[in-house]
């Protein structure tokens, strides 16, 4: 039933949708790219779960990696107790973070897990958070078996040091929703009761109902004021104690005046009160607050190195037995075993094996570095060449890399880096408001003293900046959602405003403007014979030029032929004689070859053997597509800088990409990058840092806005304000422009709300503000502002393509 097809036919895997490159397995007329995928299919079809495939096309993820002993550490009761949230003698419950949850089929399969293994009692998936809550029977299955089951069907939970070290996040704060509920309830009922008054009642009914309605309204406005509106009052009070005038001050002032005047008017039967205005105001304000609070649950903006490291490592005991220990239990002097593709958890010395460590995420160097026995290997690197044995020299939290997090910048909470437009405006607004209120009081004191209180309070009520307070939350909240749809995820809506104020952009190189997968080498020309390969290898191997090294590495030959002569002309090429053959390696100019196509993004190295042109190696710089356009567009508005942890090898190329005014710095360690941003900020520059790796973590945190690029948004990214899908790098200038445009929308809507205030004030100062007018103006101005900001931010987002 199962056969292997020729690999030439381009078939896709029924399970994961990948092209079947190495082999193609067939089962039931369906093709699979590997045994892993096929096994999942078989497992699912045995358990009648094949509707997994009918909900979405090719919903699986490729399963080319084997599990092996990877989860042995989950047998450790200590780790178990930290992961499991509830356990009794029958069942245990815990929550997994599963990055692979990506479509409806995933929900289907995970929630039907009990059909595959009856030890699973129940699964509840939260798609947006990419979590699964699982209850399982502890007598039938261990935690490790459960995780292995998940991994075997392609839903490997991710565990990091963070999961066991940090407390689980607190319950979601639902207070705001309760406040909205209460405010909405009271607002609706007050409106209903106030309406008859507004339309006019005849005298007999008024006698009956009016006072009763007034008391009901008052009763309803009490929870609105003390419960729903409390945050505004508290925050205004706190602000004033710190001598800060925020938008909450005029708001709270308006609320208090409304509340007191309602009581006065209704209890003394001198008027109807403005209960509906009060309730409506609070209700709209809370809606705005809720709208601004959008968060991306599946993304984490606050990750530090703890979520980068695995939670455990294999330790080799004195008797050469291996056990799994949690990383925070590692001691200096412990021997540990690191397998291929595992991360080195602590600074340690190489004892055994061939170490070839990829530090690209940690330091920005793109080439893996070979280490000799006895050499020290810094934590954070990834082993890429088989198993190695290490001796721990420093604990994880004290290692070279993680020391960066001891910097003060990670300790302080620099949430409000810039004064927002709203705060700036509200200062002047409050002052002007009080000036108008007082001067109208003085005016009436002279002409008609009965109207003093009335006019004074009416000014504070009508000018209560509801529409102003709503314009920012709605514009920013909308902008954040629109950017999120284009895979530019903001930590909070205020980041939009921060971005709009920036004037400098600092880029990281490796992984940010280059693609993280290694640069590719391709040979153009007739395929090389084994002899030719050996000749070229022997020559390039002897050169210290990085390009030669890359070619030598690409050819990957074990034996070199002894050279008769070797002559390297720096910056041009090599002439050598190898076993009687003349070999020339170098640029087209050096070898007198006419280049027919030139491409700035590629470097070509030509080869001549015995004076005959055999072809050339094309080394593609793995720069992101559209890099040049992005830089050109950004250069018109921003000062650009480049900080690279890599060597200067590509400096000449990068100079052609970046404008001449930009600073290009190489061999920067993580602390250098942090300091550099600090220096720029010292020069009053407002800096956006665009980076990707752990080595940028300090710089991302220090910068006014940190944007971290991520190939896969569910994988690790250092703490930052923005997480951006690397595939959309080309859109970066448009994202930034969109943030600036959003601020313009806020300015316009601010003018709109001022207009309404002026209309209202003209009634208020003349002492003729009736509750009806207040009840009409307040919602109308709010609705106009909300409508205007929503529509214009939407239209602007449509331009962003």
């Amino acid at each position: 039933m199962i056969e292997t097809l020729n690999k030439n036919t381009k078939t896709t895997c029924y399970h994961c949708g990948d092209f079947c490159a190495e082999e193609t397995l067939v089962l039931n007329d369906k093709t699979f790219c590997c045994n892993g995928c096929k096994n999942v299919f078989m497992l699912l079809s045995e358990n009648n779960l094949t509707s997994y495939y009918s909900i979405e096309k090719n919903p699986g993820k490729s399963l080319k990696q084997s599990i092996g002993n990877k989860y042995a550490y989950l047998d450790d009761t200590n780790i178990q107790s930290k992961l499991i949230s509830y356990i009794d003698h029958k069942v245990a419950r815990l929550q997994f973070q599963i990055p692979n949850i990506h479509c409806s089929s995933c929900i289907y399969l995970l929630e039907n897990l009990y059909k595959i293994n009856n030890a699973v009692v129940g699964v509840r998936v939260n798609f947006l958070k990419k979590t699964a809550n699982i209850v399982y029977d502890v007598n039938k299955m261990s935690l490790r078996q459960l995780v292995e089951l998940l991994a075997s069907i392609g839903y490997e939970p991710s565990f990091t040091m963070n999961d066991i070290n940090q407390e689980k996040p607190k319950n979601i704060n639902r207070k705001l929703l309760f406040q909205i509920g209460v405010a909405g309830f009271c607002f609706g009922n007050i409106m209903m009761i106030s309406f008859p008054e507004y339309f006019g009642l005849d005298n007999t009914t008024r006698h009956y109902l009016s006072s009763a309605f007034g008391y009901i309204n008052l009763a309803l406005s009490i929870p609105v004021f003390f419960y729903s509106g409390q945050d505004y009052l508290i925050s205004a009070y706190k602000g004033l104690r710190k001598k800060l005038i925020t938008i909450d001050v005029p708001l709270a002032l308006g609320l208090v005046v409304l509340f007191v005047r309602n009581f006065y008017e209704i209890l003394t039967r001198t008027g109807l009160g403005y209960c509906d205005t009060l309730a409506g105001l609070v209700f709209f304000l809370l809606i705005g607050k809720w709208f601004q609070q959008k968060t991306y649950d599946s993304l984490s903006f606050e990750r530090d190195y703890k979520s980068y490291f695995p939670i455990s490592v294999i330790k080799i005991n004195a008797d050469n037995q291996t056990t799994t220990v949690a990383i925070d239990k590692l001691k200096i002097g412990d021997r540990i075993l690191i397998r291929n593709n595992e991360i080195i958890p602590a600074d340690s010395i190489l004892l055994k094996g061939k170490a070839n460590i990829d530090f690209s995420f940690v330091s920005g160097e793109k080439e893996p570095i070979a280490k000799e026995l006895g050499e020290i290997i810094f934590a954070g690197g990834k082993q890429t060449n088989g198993n190695i044995e290490l001796e721990v020299k420093k604990l994880t939290e004290q290692s070279y890399l993680t020391q960066l997090w001891n910097n003060d910048i990670f300790a302080k909470d620099n949430a409000s880096k810039v004064e927002t437009f709203q705060t700036k405006v509200s200062k002047y607004f409050t002052v002007a408001l009080l000036a108008i209120a007082i001067s109208s009081a003085i005016y009436w004191a002279v002409y008609d003293s009965s109207k003093i209180i009335g006019a004074f309070t009416a000014v504070l009520i009508i000018a209560c900046p509801c529409a102003l307070a709503l314009s920012s939350p709605f514009a920013l909240g909308n902008a954040m959602r629109n950017l999120g749809r284009k895979k530019f995820y903001l930590k909070s809506a205020n980041v939009v405003e921060n971005i709009a104020n920036m004037d400098t952009i600092v880029f990281d190189k490796t992984g940010t403007i280059t693609q993280s997968n290694e640069s590719q080498i391709e040979f153009i020309g007739n395929p090389l014979t084994q002899l030719q390969k050996e000749l070229i290898f022997s020559v390039t191997q002897n050169s210290i030029h990085p390009l030669s090294k890359q070619i030598a590495q690409h050819l990957n030959i074990s034996s070199a032929i002894i050279l008769n002569s070797f002559d390297e002309i720096t910056g041009k090429g090599i002439k050598a004689n190898v076993g009687g053959n003349d070999v020339e390696v170098g640029s087209a100019k050096f070898l007198n070859i006419l280049e027919n196509e030139s491409n700035a993004l590629n470097t070509r190295i030509y080869i001549k053997i015995n004076r005959e042109n055999v072809g050339c190696f094309v080394i593609k710089h793995a720069y992101r597509t559209g890099l040049k356009q992005v830089i050109n567009q950004l250069a018109t508005q921003f000062k650009l800088h480049l900080l690279s942890g890599d060597n200067e090898q590509e400096k000449t190329f990068l100079q052609t990409v970046f404008p001449t005014s930009s600073e290009l710095l190489f061999k920067q360690n993580p602390a250098d990058k942090l300091m550099y941003i600090n220096t720029l900020q010292g020069n009053q520059q407002k800096v956006i840092m665009v980076g990707d790796g752990l080595n940028d973590a300090g710089a991302l945190k220090t910068a006014n806005v940190g944007i971290s690029l991520s190939e896969d948004t569910s994988s690790f990214s250092p703490s930052s304000d923005v997480i951006m899908d690397a595939a959309n790098f080309e859109l970066l200038p448009k994202y930034l422009q969109y943030c600036k445009n959003t601020m313009k929308v806020i300015y316009v809507s601010f003018c709109l709300s001022l207009l309404y205030n002026i209309i209202g004030l003209s009634y208020a100062v003349s002492g003729t503000l009736s509750p009806v007018i207040a009840a009409i103006l307040m919602p109308i101005s709010s609705v106009t502002v909300i409508g205007f900001t929503s529509i214009s931010t939407y239209l602007l987002a449509r331009k962003m393509k």
Binding site: N48, S54, E111, G181, V182, F185
Partner: protein, 56 residues
């Protein structure tokens, strides 16, 4: 006109009922995840299973 008070009273009872329902719903976590349930309700075990059995 006394009928008005009865009407208003009963409308309040109704509205308070809705408010309690809302608070209960929020407390229960029903609005924490506003996406997954919308997908979950479309999974229909019985019928899909039959089709699959025919296919396999």
């Amino acid at each position: 006109m006394k009928i008005m008070f009865i009407l208003i009273g009963s409308s309040f009872v109704l509205a308070i009922g809705f408010l309690i329902a809302f608070i209960w719903m929020v407390k229960n976590g029903q609005i924490d995840d506003d996406y997954t349930p919308s997908v979950r309700m479309l999974f229909d075990d019985g019928t899909v299973k039959k089709q699959d059995e025919e296919k396999v």
